[in-house]
């Protein structure tokens, strides 16, 4: 089951560049929320603050609080590794581990954290691949095919399966379909529709039509600020802020 995310006065820096400014946002559980905005508006940075990936880049700083469910992400006792286990992430360019088979890729998050039970691993791998709509395509060569030998769309679904295998509560997707062809994109969008029931999904996208198809809520970011956050239908038919309207009607960006 998914949980909600409460973001309170979140700020983030790259060195001296103030990339994310005073974000105040409540992301609802078990829904998909899209984050749109022009290039460089801080949407990817914002999302990477949610699972403490932003701090893996040298010379960065984060201020403010993020609560996922009942857990303070930046709390004193919370480890980044622990948060990242509870928050799955799918990246723009599919990145399966090239030296591992399909099976090992999906199981990586569990195996590399000490999980050894063979039978349970088999079950989890199958379940995750089914959830990612990839099972039928790879079930006959799970351990023979390397993760990198699949097509682009399959690789991305493999990465989704890999993220699902550790049973996160939240799934963050940073432009997951931007490198894919229309059919793979549409499979991934269908996937998100299914996943919503059990996970909270945040999807960053350049493609407004995708945000409109996939997400119930949409947030519009501009130069690091959250300009508007509302139901997707409202944002795309009658947004409250003129800047939002100018962006989605293509008058800039």
């Amino acid at each position: 089951m998914g949980v909600g995310i409460q973001v309170n006065q979140l700020n983030a820096w790259f060195g001296n560049t103030h990339a994310v400014r005073d974000i105040q946002m409540d992301i609802p559980a078990n829904h998909a929320t899209a984050i749109i905005g022009p290039s460089g508006c801080g949407k990817s940075t914002f999302v990477r603050c949610l699972n403490r990936m932003h701090e893996t880049i040298p010379n960065t700083r984060v201020q403010g609080t993020v609560k996922i469910g009942d857990t303070h992400v930046y709390g004193n006792g919370t480890s980044a590794v622990e948060i990242r286990r509870r928050v799955g992430m799918v990246f723009q360019k599919p990145n399966p581990f090239p030296t591992m088979s399909v099976y090992d890729n999906v199981a990586a998050g569990l195996k590399l954290n000490g999980y050894r039970n063979r039978r349970e691993l088999d079950e989890i791998v199958e379940r995750s691949l089914r959830q990612a709509a990839l099972w039928d395509e790879v079930k006959d060569s799970l351990k023979k095919k390397s993760g990198a030998s699949l097509s682009g769309g399959q690789q991305q679904r493999l990465c989704i399966a890999r993220a699902l295998a550790v049973e996160p509560e939240v799934m963050l997707m940073d432009e997951p379909a931007s490198a894919l062809d229309p059919i793979s994109t549409s499979k991934i969008e269908d996937l998100i529709f299914e996943l919503k029931q059990n996970y909270t999904i945040v999807i960053v996208t350049h493609n407004m039509q995708q945000a409109a198809r996939v997400a119930e809520f949409t947030a519009f970011f501009l130069i690091g600020n959250l300009i508007e956050f509302d139901k997707t239908e409202k944002i795309f038919t009658n947004p409250s802020d003129k800047r939002t309207e100018d962006y989605i009607t293509g008058r800039f960006g």
């Binding site: 795309f236 038919t237 009658n238 309207e245 989605i248 009607t249 293509g250 008058r251």
Partner: protein
Amino acid sequence: MTRTKFHQGLDELKQKLLTMGGMAEQAVQRAVTAYRTRDLKLCQLVLDNEQAINLQEREIDELARDLLAMQQPMAIDLRFILAVIKINADLERVGDQAVNIVQRVMHMNGLPVVDLPADIPHMAAAASAMVGEALEAFIEGNVDLAQKVLATDDEVDRMNRETFVAMEGAMASSPEVLHQALDVLLIARNLERIADHATNIAEDVIFWVQGADVRHRIHSNRS
């Protein structure tokens, strides 16, 4: 500004709709004048122009459809195109109503002239003005003007009801004026419909500009 092709399309759509509006407005004015002056040539003109109005309706629908399919308009642009499609249909109906009026006039021409207690010219002026104001509200994106049109509708409705009652009375007391009374009644009805269409157009303008759906408001005493 980006999306030149799209904005050119939007401009073209607006222009075409204004042309349509002009043709419909002209048809109403000619029909009203024809009633006053019993000018059969004017009636024929209205009938002839009906074809042009229908063609224009088709063109506007096609352009709107293409813009929707190809340009994925959002927010205000989407509302604009949706409003245009609806206003387009209303204007075509206005043209039809003008034709109906003209047909009544032509029918009345074959009948002896009688003096009936109905103020058609007043009603016609009001309805005609409403159409003009609704179109102006569209050109300017003027919500206040659109609201004014909505308010005037009640007036026209009232006049229609009065005419109905008056004609009922006239037909009951003087059966020999039956045909003329019926024609007057129908003409009043057509004018009331024209006013309704103008109201629709005003509502669509408000929807476009504000994103608010103000249709089907509860009128007082609306029959």
